[in-house]
């Protein structure tokens, strides 16, 4: 059974169909990439899965339960963590505090209005482990707003990881990075994903990143799925080449 099941998902903005009857399955443990040219509907699809936007039609099921129409924080509480295309952090907090706040969200006593040493310690354990897996231990005590752009991107991933999600959504993790920074970030992500155990849905338009990280690729074009296969098959697909890859390679 698939962890994430999407059926006939559609979102219209006025006359524009941003996401057009998209159906897909993401299995547990899979690293799935969603690719497509700018405006293909990738980010909208993310917003629909995470509850930031409500779909016009269709539904999303996560772990066999319908999540369509739930608010963003409820969907997150069910085990779906995400990063944003434009870096979203708490700039005045240190990297460690960022990770701690992310980890704390998963605890039952996240409301506690006093004390909290034990809660913070437990959150720090998960947060620190996540920072370490992304190679951020050395900068853990610096304010997030002062980190390099590459480290900020990885910190967002670490925050997602600190929540021990069942599904991690990465929205263009190398967005805005230089060539060297991208290479470093991809190395880090590759070793993270090689450890296994994570189910990841990845939006990315850097093809090298996608072919290196993903087990399976879904190609969107003008809001609709035009291919859904393993990387080698997607690369060879004439429709994909026509719509997308051909323009680049």
């Amino acid at each position: 059974m698939a962890l994430l099941e999407i059926d006939g998902l559609t979102r219209r903005f006025g006359g524009l169909v941003a996401v057009d009857e998209v159906s897909m399955r993401v299995a547990e443990g899979e690293v799935r990439a969603v690719i497509g040219p700018n405006g293909a509907g990738k980010s909208t699809l993310f917003h629909l899965i995470t509850g930031v936007l409500k779909p016009t039609a269709g539904e999303v099921r996560f772990a066999d339960e319908r999540t369509t129409g739930l608010s963003a924080h409820r969907i997150c509480q069910r085990g779906v963590s995400r990063t944003f295309q434009l870096t979203a952090l708490f700039p005045e907090m240190t990297a460690r505090e960022n990770a701690r706040l992310a980890a704390q969200a998963r605890g039952a006593r996240r409301w506690q209005p006093y004390g909290g040493d034990a809660i913070f310690a437990a959150a720090d354990r998960r947060g620190d482990a996540a920072l370490e897996r992304l190679g951020l231990t050395d900068v853990a005590h610096r304010p997030a707003g002062l980190l390099s752009h590459g480290d900020q991107r990885l910190l967002e991933v670490a925050m997602g990881l600190a929540q021990q999600p069942r599904l991690l959504l990465l929205d263009e993790p190398t967005q805005g990075l230089s060539v060297e920074e991208t290479a470093q970030a991809v190395d880090t992500l590759a070793s993270l994903l090689a450890d296994g155990g994570l189910t990841v849905l990845l939006v990315e338009h850097d093809m090298e990143v996608v072919f290196r990280l993903a087990h399976r690729i879904t190609v969107l074009h003008r809001g609709a799925v035009i291919a859904d296969d393993v990387p080698a098959a997607v690369r060879a697909d004439p429709a994909v080449q026509d719509a997308y890859l051909g323009g680049i390679e």
């Binding site: 963003a72 924080h73 509480q77 506690q112």
Partner: protein, 311 residues
């Protein structure tokens, strides 16, 4: 731990103040502490959550009128009456917070102002409860429990106010350092991200509004019991503006800052108003100076602490 030492010294100075001040000055001291509590309560919203309330007089007025009615119409001792009035203000604020958090940013601020002005208008019309434009007069400081009467004197009441301020301060200090406080800080820095991490940010905001109103209501209740009367001025937007000024001049995002801001406001008001009736004009200039030149407020000036420290 130096900051803790400074706080203990400050509390001791305040506790010994009645020994060194003439009785007429104690009136000013009591008002300063009440306004300090009021400003500190607002800072939970403004400084810690970045929820700019332009209507915090609503909290003060709700507490004052609730305490006034309790003391006039029941035998509840003043100690309990002020606590009940604070709780009443906090409970009403759940509804106020629910409405205001339908909006964000400047619209949130406008809603807080609108609700405060609505209560101001109600106070003018609901004569049996508010005394309309006459207000409530002759509010007693009912003695008890166990026949205690010490807070009926001015000095005694000063200690009651000081105890409330210290207790509220310790409560707030614990609150802002707790897991709940960490989420408030997240909302302040990036609400959308906080929400995407799985926090129901709206509930946190409603909760902090309720807490701020409860403490602000306690301040208003203490004022009603001290002054012995209430009037509609306590709900007026002018007071909302003044308390916001106290927070900003003292140092938003700190707990001590707003208290210092309130004391400063009151002292400068006393001093200027003995020279000129248009003291507010000059205070306005002082405020502009602070906003432009000392954005972290008096406390930031003294301690050099970066905004966002927990004390």
């Amino acid at each position: 731990m130096t900051s803790r030492r400074v706080l203990v010294v400050a509390a001791l100075v305040l506790a010994l103040l009645p020994l060194g001040l003439p009785l007429f000055a104690m009136t000013l001291a009591i008002e300063a502490l009440i306004l300090g509590l009021f400003a500190m309560s607002l800072d939970l919203m403004v400084g810690y959550t970045r929820l700019f309330s332009f209507g915090h007089a609503a909290a003060y007025g709700l507490g004052a009128y609730a305490a006034g009615n309790l003391l006039l119409h029941t035998d509840i001792p003043v100690v309990f009456a002020v606590l009940l009035a604070g709780a009443f203000s906090g409970i009403v604020a759940i509804g106020i917070g629910w409405v205001c958090t339908l909006a964000t940013g400047i619209s949130f601020s406008m809603l807080t102002l609108a609700i405060a002005q609505l209560l101001y208008a109600v106070a003018f019309k609901w004569t049996p409860v508010t005394g309309a434009s006459d207000g409530l007069a002759g509010i007693p400081r009912t003695p008890g429990p166990f026949g205690l009467t010490w807070f009926q004197s001015k000095i005694g009441f000063y200690y009651l106010v000081l105890a409330c301020l210290v207790a509220a301060f310790m409560f707030c200090r614990s609150l802002v350092a707790s897991p709940f406080g960490a989420v408030l800080r997240g909302i302040r820095e990036n609400e959308a991200k906080t929400q995407s991490l799985g926090y129901n940010t709206r509930r946190y905001k409603i909760a902090v509004v309720a807490i701020a109103y409860a403490l602000g209501g306690l301040a208003g209740a203490l004022y009603a019991a001290f002054a012995g009367f209430t009037n509609t001025e306590l709900l007026f937007w002018l007071l909302s503006g003044q308390v916001l000024i106290m927070v900003i001049i003292g140092g938003a995002g700190t707990l001590v800052g707003p208290i210092i801001g309130a004391i400063f406001f009151l002292l400068v008001q006393q001093y200027l108003s003995s020279y000129t009736e248009s003291w507010a004009l000059f205070f306005g200039l002082i405020f502009i100076f602070f906003v432009v030149c000392v954005p972290r407020g008096l406390l930031g000036l003294v301690s050099g602490r970066r905004a966002g420290g927990t004390v």
